[in-house]
Symmetry: C2
Subunit: 163 residues, 2 copies
Amino acid sequence: MTDRLTYKQDLTHCGLKKTRHRLVILDILDHSDQPVTAEQIFARLQDRRIAINLSTVYRTLDTLVLNKLVTRLSITQDGRALHEYNRRVHRHYLVCQGCRKIIPIDGCPLADYSRQLEQETGFQISGHKLDLYGFCPQCRQQHPEGQRTAHASDPKSQANCED
Amino acid sequence: MTDRLTYKQDLTHCGLKKTRHRLVILDILDHSDQPVTAEQIFARLQDRRIAINLSTVYRTLDTLVLNKLVTRLSITQDGRALHEYNRRVHRHYLVCQGCRKIIPIDGCPLADYSRQLEQETGFQISGHKLDLYGFCPQCRQQHPEGQRTAHASDPKSQANCED
DNA sequence: TTATGTGCAAAGGTTTTGCAATAGT
DNA sequence: ACTATTGCAAAACCTTTGCACATAA
């Protein structure tokens, strides 16, 4: 969690105007424990009785992502883009296939592998994307049967997700 | 590359009818060196003078993905889903940020890490998704300047992609 | 004052769906 | 014959855009 002053400094640093919308959206993102969609941000703004247009939310998110104040995740929620406050930490996620909870995990197991692959392929590797899938302790108890096949029966589930 | 007989066997095994459309779509996927979008499949069918509706392509892909004959990648091409023939190999990808080429890489560096994470988090981990990004040898030569910042200036580029 | 940001309404693009007709088993 | 599959057209869905107005610097 950061404070309003930091948001203002960040916006100034990026040459962006410090509008109320941007400050509140940064605040919402910063205080979300889960990555959020544009629609969810829109809803939370309504909750706070802040009048804003959905297209402004999209435009603001684009601007913030472009300026790297916000990160757009590769994990999607049924085709909707997910966003989170950019804490400038290289981070991976553990996604529960039962309750769809997303948990950031610390550390990255790929630094060495990445370098090794650069040598093998001749690519200059600039980054990577890693998400892990499974069932959280709660969902393991609630749906013990479907755990290994849940994603097989769900047409929306991500591929590339195998044992 | 497999042959038409295998496609038929696979469809039978899944309890699916062996229609001409499905056989050709499997053939197209099987012979693509790059993952393809529904639209690309549609175009290749037109090239072969095969009359088909785009929605049938979508429905067919859904069915094939559901039955695990085809894999839907998590990498997307500007919001369009990519598909490939399921060779039943656990596989990761190296994506060139210059020419957008996608290269499958062998092996998986995450088996141990995955088990370790299970113990730490209490999750039952059922799979993961890993893509790596960079610049292929050709693109390294052609765009030596923009290599480390290309994705920063591209609003469409994937996030989660850092050093 | 001037460039940037915003609201509104409309369009964009991919993907999904309802229903009647067709084709596989 | 029975059911799964398909074509067609329309809708759904998230997201983007044009233009006039408003706001921050």
